[in-house]
Symmetry: C2
Subunit: 363 residues, 2 copies
């Protein structure tokens, strides 16, 4: 357990007791903050109280210093406008996963919008709902804060830091373009790719390897939530998907005339663009360092992986990433260790000496 | 170390000493088989000999019982035809990742094609080349065998089993459709998705989470190899990509008119099709069982993950899957444990009691 940083507000009112609202309530209460709650659903509100995320707001309660709006995206702007009017001295923040439309709607409808700070914690991967709320949901996750009047901004930034998150500053439009590219478009691509599997034979499914699993993993996400997100950020998403469609048409043209001059060059260009694109993703510590991979064969039994990792720990080897991989029907699995490239040769030889089988490596 | 099953051939000749040929040579020699080698590249051949994958074929060497053709896909058919002529009693197999064109070319050009068995081991994920050869490359990996005259088929199946792989039988066309769907199309989709990142700002890249990393991971693969694979299987790939393009156009239409009647239904349908599609992928032991996930916060230090896994091992908990996940700049990571759903509540409460922090769970 790490020590909790104290929060810069002593009384926060949270509207919406789903995953984010409940988690924020739990985290703030751990830091000694008074939290009041409100939700359109009486059962969700009662559950959040039972979980200890705060107490429902009573008629005589004093004005909060901060209101956090954590409702579904399609009602956020209306709720923010009402909260700004109800509490004339409070700051108001939201945590929705789209920002430009909300910021615009609030500015145009409210004369108090200088007290509103649009934000977005990148912590929505888990199952939603009050029951999934966790006080450490925001730990080490990026949390976008849109620029605002400097005092309001400073206070919200302090709050984000006190919750253990990593503040990132960008304008509402920058945010929406960024999440379209980094989150919404990958989600739709994964869904489109996974939809192809509806037509797969049982034989074909038996060939499933790590590649198709990686590409389709996030297609398992909740459609009901994603319809709202995608609908609220349709323009930046459509722009990216249109450029993808143009590239796809180019690939289809090359495949249809695969033996014509230039077709293989077209395929080479799109494959190379993919290599360059993926290399831009930041590494573990925010750098673009390339890592190497070592694939170790492990027996499919509870203690084996721990034994491997204990050994690596004793040697002081820090893993950058680790994945388990199985083939259907196999009694062994593969642990795919991601390491700094300069460590690979030494770790491989130590592992072999200790009796481990190495199934491969990748630079 | 597991005991090695003996191979059904005593002398195998391998043509092509890249990753697959070298790995097969190493594996066969471990099983006491005499292996001779040949490669168009003198340096690759010399390296494979140094690695112990076999000895270069001499003029007076006897006829092998089996020839394995492991050359690049675009010359496989020609090499197979020449080998069938050179060795009138030997079986010939290939290991290329496309099958229909090769089977057709061999049948139409050679009267000996009953001695040819087209195969494809699904073991090509690692870095290519002689230097990456491993005797256990094929362990627990699916290995497709196309139907052939029964004696030839039985012998090749025994060989595949003796190398520790999992034989799967399908016709050349079934194979090519299956790998288009399960391997080639995911590869191209991943490349197309990763190509979008070329236009991402540094700010946007800072938001990269597990989703975009999963979708674009295989876009790192070697373009030179993939051009050959994609070109040799262009028709089944184009068919799948065309159906994806139709779905993409439907999504774009819905995004452009996102507030019109029916648009959200269109988005819901494609997202739901993705959920259904990914649920068809076989689970760890070849079933489609759904698993649950528990996300544990771990300090970013060498011993922590091993300590977690040792604890799980002591409790007899078998992980179905395990992934590490980091946010840029964070001093903690997340271990995403995949478990049988009935174990989650118990494991979570034991971990909490032992002082671990739980960051979330997913059904």
């Amino acid at each position: 357990m790490t020590g909790k940083t104290s929060a810069p507000f002593s009384h926060v009112h949270i509207v919406g007791t789903g995953l984010l609202g409940t988690s924020a309530g739990l985290a703030l209460r751990e830091r000694g903050v008074t939290v009041t709650l409100e939700d359109a659903s009486p059962s969700s509100l009662a559950l959040a109280e039972d979980y200890g995320a705060g107490a429902r707001r009573g008629a005589g309660d004093p004005e909060p210093e901060l209101v956090m709006v954590a409702t579904p995206p399609d009602v956020v702007a209306d709720v923010v406008i009402r909260q700004l009017e109800a509490f004339p001295s409070a700051l108001v923040m939201d945590v929705a996963s789209v920002k430009a439309a909300i910021a615009r709607d609030v500015s145009s409808a409210s004369s108090h919008s200088a007290r509103f700070v649009p934000t977005h914690p990148m912590a929505g991967r888990e199952r939603g709902g009050t029951v999934s709320g966790r006080s450490d949901l925001f730990t080490a996750r990026p949390w976008v804060i849109c620029p605002q009047d400097s005092d309001a901004h400073t206070a919200i930034r302090s709050l984000v830091v006190s919750l253990g998150a990593l503040p990132l500053e960008m304008s509402p439009d920058e945010h929406d373009d960024a999440v379209a590219l980094m989150s919404h478009v990958p989600q739709l691509i994964s869904s489109l790719a996974a939809a192809r599997l509806l037509g797969a034979s049982e034989l074909a499914l038996g060939l499933a390897g790590a590649g198709v699993r990686d590409v389709t993993r996030i297609a398992q996400s909740d459609p009901a939530l994603w319809i709202q997100i995608v609908a609220a950020n349709s323009a930046p998403i459509a722009q990216q998907l249109r450029s993808l469609r143009d590239d796809l048409d180019t690939v289809l043209g090359a495949l249809d005339e695969v033996n014509s001059a230039g077709s293989k060059k077209v395929l080479a260009e799109i494959l190379s663009a993919g290599v360059s694109g993926v290399s831009r993703l930041p590494g573990k510590h925010g750098t673009s360092t390339a890592f190497a991979s070592l694939i170790v064969v492990i027996d499919d039994s509870p203690g084996e992986l721990a034994r491997l990792l204990t050994q690596l720990g004793e040697w002081g080897v820090n893993l950058e990433d680790l994945r388990l991989e199985h083939s259907p029907g196999a009694q062994v699995g593969f642990a795919d260790l991601t390491l700094a490239p300069e460590l690979v040769a030494d770790v491989e030889s130590r592992l072999r000496d200790a009796g481990w089988r190495i199934a491969g490596e990748r630079a």
